[in-house]
């Protein structure tokens, strides 16, 4: 800054202040001090330099004269010297040129000096002021005591005695305190009603004993009071009590209470009732979580040991339960404070993580009034259990083998030991699925070897429980059927092994388990198959064949079972009946089909509601062609089982005409066949091994019935008394004589020939074979006729034979009676050489016995037999000379059928006499 610049400033200010002012303040620049001290003239400097360079040059010259120096050195020193000197002179030159401005520089120096002196003055002023201030400290006056001043001014005396605060006031009496308290009560109620109504959560309060007691249900109770009459002054916390079990009656630790009181008062000061509520509420929540944590740790050390994992993460209590349970993620609950919504404070909440996933749709019940970790765990576990069981139930219900009645779910809200799913496995067995609360293991009760096995599997693989239960049901059912069947005498065929593909053609594709059983006494290829599958149970009759490698199955017939399955002993007995019937009917129909015999199965006329076995109707005319005696419908009914397990079948049929000719005597005669003559119906009973057919036997029986009917008719026609009638045998009497009975049997032998049975002493014994032959060729009619016709003759023969052997001279073998046929007998008197032929002839529809001498009428070959001669002794008879009940025919004689005896005897006597005479 130049002095002129200083001058300019006031000029400007004076101009600014306005021209109107007459007096202007003019600040003159103060005189600058001038400094000359230390200044050196330039000339002196130059002079000194010249002198110096002269001196140095002289020195150089002197030194150059000295020896010991090379020429080069000398030259260098000269050059050095010259250069130095030159530098000095250049500097002087610069100074000389600069000194032209020397005047201005001097002025700047003066200015600087001036400014420095100014600054010095400022500093000393500050210092002086500071000094004054420091000295003034001593001179302070205290603030006036306005309170006391007012008192003094108003009352005229100071009441605050010096001793007032140090000497305690006289103790208050109880009534004084009581008065104070009621005073406070009033103040409190005024304050809470008028000035600061409490926040919503503190609406429940009572005022007593100089305090307001605020109650928050299931959380806490807090006593607060005032510190002064001012309604705006802060409230003070007096007491705090917890209002939830198990902390209700336990006092809070004094340290804790002091801490709460301390903090609470601070909060009351800052945030009032709102703040204290929030503080205490949060404290209670935390405390509750702490209580739960402690309870959990306690039970973890007790009976829940090894099955809980307890952890506290910040303010959240995490309890994992069922820690030893296998599979399906962990399950735990988190107990923590849930954020409150506006108008609602935060609350204690439970988050439930079931198998690793949070359950949001179920609210876990937590009793905030009575805290119990065990109760909480139990309810969560009960919920979990119920969920598990419900899931199983839902899955099982979808399956047809679990009808709704077979599943019973009972759930308990808190004690999961009372929750169970009861499954009816078989009508007699049910099982309960439980989840053990502590370990989470499934338990099946009551246990058996099978259920325990399933239980173990369920616990290894909890995701697959329903499937395991389904299997268990099958296994139990199978075991029950097998065990009971075995007790009943069924044979369980464990070795039967049929290819699966083959089974698929017979049984539902959902089949899982199969049991083959056979009753003792059945044919080997027939079995009952018990089929258990998703679609339910089924009983089949199966026909299996054993092959070297693999069994094969050719037939499977479903046994219809209308009632729900109950494999009781009765059921198994019925099953046997049913299976036997089905096998028998099946075998029968198969044969009928293969023989192209018309047949049909129809529901039975009379049926047992438990056992409906169809009847098999067979067309009679198709079974036995050309037979016309029976009506077409033959009804084959399965009757029952014999005690050896064979089937008893009955075939009912009816003849076209009533069988009145049979009379009454047939009824009890035959155990296999029975007749009802009036209606013409008959019943035939068969007992066959299960698996065998009866068709051949039936055909044979029918043939026999046919024969029987025919025979009896014949016998009736001849008006002979029937001795007995049965399907294989007809006995009748053709003469009153005792020995005159005959039995015809038919069909009892394999060859189908009829037999004639005669008593040992029957006169017809000698022609039995002819009769039998006749029976089989010409029928019974001829035989009966033959019997009656030949009887007198044969009786007569017997007579003469007896006489002959009784005669004194008679010897054995003298008389031979040779039947040639039923109507031709040859009688040979060997001793007499006489041979007679007795023949039956018919003349004018009347039968006669003709007797002739074989020698006369016989064939040529016989005539010339040695010792044979003509029976001349009979000429008398032939010629009619001997009179009798016969007709003489010159070469013979003829007698009626009845009267032939006389002729025989006459002839005999004649021959014998002739012999004696000879």
């Amino acid at each position: 800054m130049s002095p002129s610049a200083v001058d300019n400033v006031p000029t400007k200010s004076s101009l600014k202040d306005g021209p109107n002012k007459s007096t202007t303040l003019e600040v003159r620049a103060p005189p600058l001090p001038h400094l000359t001290h230390g200044f050196i003239p330039l000339s002196l400097l130059i002079r000194r330099l010249v002198q110096d360079s002269h001196n140095k040059l002289g020195e150089l010259v002197d030194s150059l004269q000295g020896g010991g120096q090379t020429d080069e050195e000398k030259k260098r020193r000269i050059i050095d010297h010259m250069q130095d000197t030159r530098k000095q002179f250049i500097k002087v030159l610069v100074l000389a040129m600069w000194s032209k401005n020397a005047g201005a520089v001097g002025e700047v120096i003066d200015l600087k000096l001036f400014l420095d002196s100014r600054q010095e003055i400022f500093h000393s002023v500050v210092y002086n002021l500071l000094d004054v201030r420091r000295n003034m400290n001593q001179a302070r006056v205290p603030n006036p005591d306005l309170d006391t001043a007012v008192q003094v001014l108003s009352t005229g005396r100071a009441q605050t005695a010096m001793t007032h605060r140090y000497v305690p006031p006289p103790p208050l009496t109880s009534s004084a305190i009581l008065r104070t308290l009621s005073n406070i009560n009033t103040l409190l109620s005024l304050r809470l009603t008028l000035h600061s109504p409490p926040p919503p959560h503190f609406r429940t309060y009572t005022i007593h004993s100089g305090r307001a007691t605020f109650t928050v249900d299931h959380e806490f109770e807090v006593d607060m009071s005032i510190g002064s009459e001012d309604p705006e002054s802060q409230l003070f916390l007096i007491d705090f009590r917890l209002l939830f079990h198990p902390c209700t009656n336990t006092p809070i630790a004094p340290a804790l209470r002091a801490e709460i009181e301390f903090r609470g008062n601070a909060i009351l000061k800052q945030r009032g009732l709102e703040g204290i509520f929030e503080f205490l509420h949060e404290f209670v929540l935390t405390h509750k979580i702490g209580v739960l944590l402690r309870q959990t740790q306690e039970i973890h050390a007790g009976r829940w040991t090894e099955n809980l994992r307890v952890q506290q993460i910040k303010r959240t209590l995490v309890v994992q339960y069922w820690t030893t349970r296998v599979g399906e993620g962990k399950s735990w609950i988190e107990v923590g404070a849930k954020r409150g919504s506006p108008g609602k404070p935060s609350r204690l909440g439970v988050r439930w993580m079931r198998e690793g996933k949070e359950v949001k749709d179920v609210e876990v019940p937590l009793d905030i009034a009575v805290l119990s970790a065990e109760q909480l765990l139990k309810s969560v576990i009960a919920l979990h259990t119920s969920q598990i069981l419900t899931t199983i139930q839902t899955r099982l219900r979808a399956l047809p083998m679990f009808p709704p009645t077979s599943l019973r779910l009972v759930t308990h809200a808190t004690d999961s030991f009372n929750s169970f799913l009861q499954l009816t496995l078989t009508p007699s067995r049910s099982i309960r699925v439980l989840v053990e609360p502590i370990t989470g293991r499934f338990a099946l009760t009551r246990p058996t070897a099978m259920s325990t096995h399933a239980e173990g599997r369920m616990n290894q693989n909890p995701a697959n429980v329903d499937e395991l239960l389904v299997r268990l049901k099958f296994v139990v059912l199978q075991e029950e059927i097998e065990s009971r069947a075995r007790s009943m005498g069924w044979e369980i065929l464990k070795m039967v092994n049929v290819r699966r593909e083959e089974l698929k053609t017979f049984f539902p594709s959902t089949t899982r388990y199969m049991t083959y059983m056979r009753r003792e006494g059945w044919r080997r290829e027939w079995v009952v198959c018990v089929v258990l599958g998703d679609g339910g149970e089924g009983f089949y009759v199966g026909k299996i064949h054993e092959a070297p490698q693999q069994w094969t199955m050719s037939t499977a017939i479903l046994i219809p079972i209308t009632t729900p399955l109950n494999p009781s002993y009765t059921f198994l007995a019925s099953l046997e009946k049913m299976a036997s019937a089905i096998i028998t009917l099946h075998v029968t129909t198969e044969i009928l089909t293969s023989r192209r015999i018309q047949h049909q199965l129809k529901p039975p006329k009379v049926s047992d509601p438990k056992l409906t076995i169809p009847d098999l109707y067979i067309r009679f005319s198709s079974l036995i062609p050309r037979a016309t005696w029976g009506i077409d419908a033959l009804r084959l009914t399965f009757q029952s089982l014999a005690d050896d397990g064979r089937s008893i079948l009955t075939v009912f049929g009816r003849t076209r005409e009533p069988m009145t000719q049979l009379g009454g005597e047939i009824r009890a005669a035959d155990s296999d066949v029975s007749f009802h003559p009036l209606s013409g119906s008959y019943a035939i009973r068969f007992t066959v091994t299960v698996g065998d057919t009866i068709i051949d036997a039936l055909v044979e029986k029918l043939h026999r019935i046919e024969t029987l009917i025919r025979f009896v008719a014949v016998i009736r026609r001849f008006k002979l008394p029937c001795l007995h009638v049965s399907l294989g045998r007809v006995g009748f009497r053709y003469s009153p004589d005792t020995n005159s009975t005959a039995d015809v049997s038919f069909g009892s032998d394999g060859d189908g020939k009829m037999r004639l049975h005669l008593p040992a002493r029957s006169p017809h014994v000698r022609i039995r074979h002819f009769l039998e032959n006749e029976l089989n060729t010409a029928g019974l009619e001829i035989v009966v006729m033959a019997l009656t016709v030949t009887l007198p003759l044969l009786l007569a023969f017997e007579d003469i034979e007896a006489r002959f052997s009784n005669a004194p001279g008679g010897s054995e073998g003298a008389l031979y009676i040779l039947p040639r046929n039923v109507d031709w007998f040859r009688v040979e008197y060997r001793n007499h050489g006489v041979v007679l032929d007795w023949r039956l002839r018919c003349r004018k529809s009347v039968l006669y016995w003709y007797v002739q001498d074989a020698a006369m009428t016989g064939a040529e070959s016989e005539r010339g037999v040695k010792g044979r001669r003509r029976a001349d002794m009979l000429k008398g008879i032939w010629s009619g000379e001997v009179d009798g009940d016969w007709e003489a025919l010159k070469i013979g004689a003829a007698a009626g059928v009845k009267g032939v005896g006389a002729l025989v005897r006459s002839v005999h006597e004649a021959i014998v006499e002739a012999g004696v005479a000879a």
């Binding site: 305190i177 009071s225 040991t305 246990p447 046997e576």
Partner: protein, 600 residues
Amino acid sequence: MSSDPLLLSLKSWPDENLEVTSVSSLISQIQAQRGHFRDVNESILQAEIAAGKDEGQTDEKHDGETEDKADKVTEKDSATELRNAKMEMADLVAHALNEALLGLDYVSFLVSLHNPDTGNLSMSPALKQSVPAGSLGFDKIQRKIDPKALKDDEIVSRAWKIEGLNSAADAFLAASRKLGDEVEKEGRYWEQVLAIRDEGWVITRMPRERQTLGVRYGFAESAAEYKNKGIGALRRGEDGSVAMDDVATTGSRGKAMLRVRMLENGEVKGVSIQDGSKKTGSVKDVIERARNFVYEDELFFEIMREARIMANQGIRTSEDGVTIQLGEHRSILIDMAPLDEDETVPDVLGAEIGLVQGVAMAFRILLSYNHRLSLRKRSQPPPPLTQRKQAVPPLSLVRPIATHLIHHQHLSHLQGLLASLIGLAKSAGLHAEFSLKPLQNCKQPVIKDVESAVEAFLGKLESEATLVLPGGWKIEIHMQTMLGHPLFGTGFIINTSHDGISARLMGENRFNSVEEMELYLCWCLERSIVNEIRCMGDKWQQVAQGNEMWSVDKQTRRIRVEVSRVGLAIVTGTTGGTDARVVWDGSDTGRSLQDLLKEF
């Protein structure tokens, strides 16, 4: 005041006794007089007024009362005393701290006048809030010392000194006396400790208090949870005799012992005797009792632990006990209960006292047996180390006992069944009988040592029964119970021998449930009666080995034999006719089966 009209004002004059009557000062006065405000309430005050004690109670009185209370407390026990002392000390320390802080505040406040930075640093926030810093001034006051007062002070200080010396002497005397006592007490203490050791107890240091001696009365083979519970501290009592801590030894359930109860239809039929050992209170007895309680506690813990894996056997656990269900109506309840107070045995012990007492005793024997097993297992080389943590399997306590109980239950059921079947047959005039040989395999155990004595009763239980039925049937029933593989309950092996006519099957049949066995026996009786009828002169023929028979003579006549648990029924009928049913239910009807058949 009112006499002076000039001083009238609309403003209310400050109350004369503002300091005395304001709520704030009154509250502080009440607090000073009565302690914490929370301990004061209207009812107490009214009671006091009613009692005529309407006077200012001073603090001293109040203190005196608390001292009295404290005296009473000391009599209770040392733990409470300790706690009280601690609280008192904490109070005092807090008080001292408060005083110190107040002093600090005061000094800081003073300092803040001249040296605000230093002063502010140590001023408490509360003080800063209430007053501006540096607003308290001070000055040095010169005071003349009164020579008379100086003399007084000297006298007072001398008296104090003498008093101090006296009290020091007294303290020394007391200390020497106390030391003498201590020596005596210490001697007595060690004598008794030695006596305890000589009895065979293990004396050891307490795990957490290294300087305290303890006695180990727990069991070496206990589960991990009980390893550390079996130590009791041997403390020196008032007179130097040993006193054992009773608190830590009683387990979680207090002084309780295992109680076994038998319930039938919800009615208690028997309670085990809750009789502890002698109650003389000597240290040895205390140790023994502690040992017993620990044993009982461990026993219950192990029972609980085992019971929960046996849920499938009808055993359930609840918060306080284990229930073993025996059939529909009976159950055994196991829980912890305090000892019976009086010595007399109450009448409610009931009829099943023998059973419950036996069960309780068996539990105790079995735990000891399990301890022995554990010792044996530990003496063997340990299994190879694996990554997986080996779970400790539960002990075998409930299983053997439940096996016995279930076996007995099934045995009595079998007995009932056989008796009723026999009764049915006899009431129908048929011959039948049975004999029962219970617990065949436990009859004569070979006892080599303690373990084998117990082992004989573990494992499978077997009973046998022989049943002779009509028709020449003989049935041998072999009943086995085992709550494990392969039976998981009771199994029956039934051997049937007969002439093989009325039923084809003979020989062995196995049943795994009582119901099946019952069904089978009914079926056997049915068939045997069928056989009996058949043998009555071959008049009846059996239909296909069923229960129906028909008459050999008259084929339309049929009879059916039906046997169930409740009765033996003969259904007679003719084809096409109605059936008649005759039932023998075990009571004597005076009509035999033979009579019936004859009539029919």
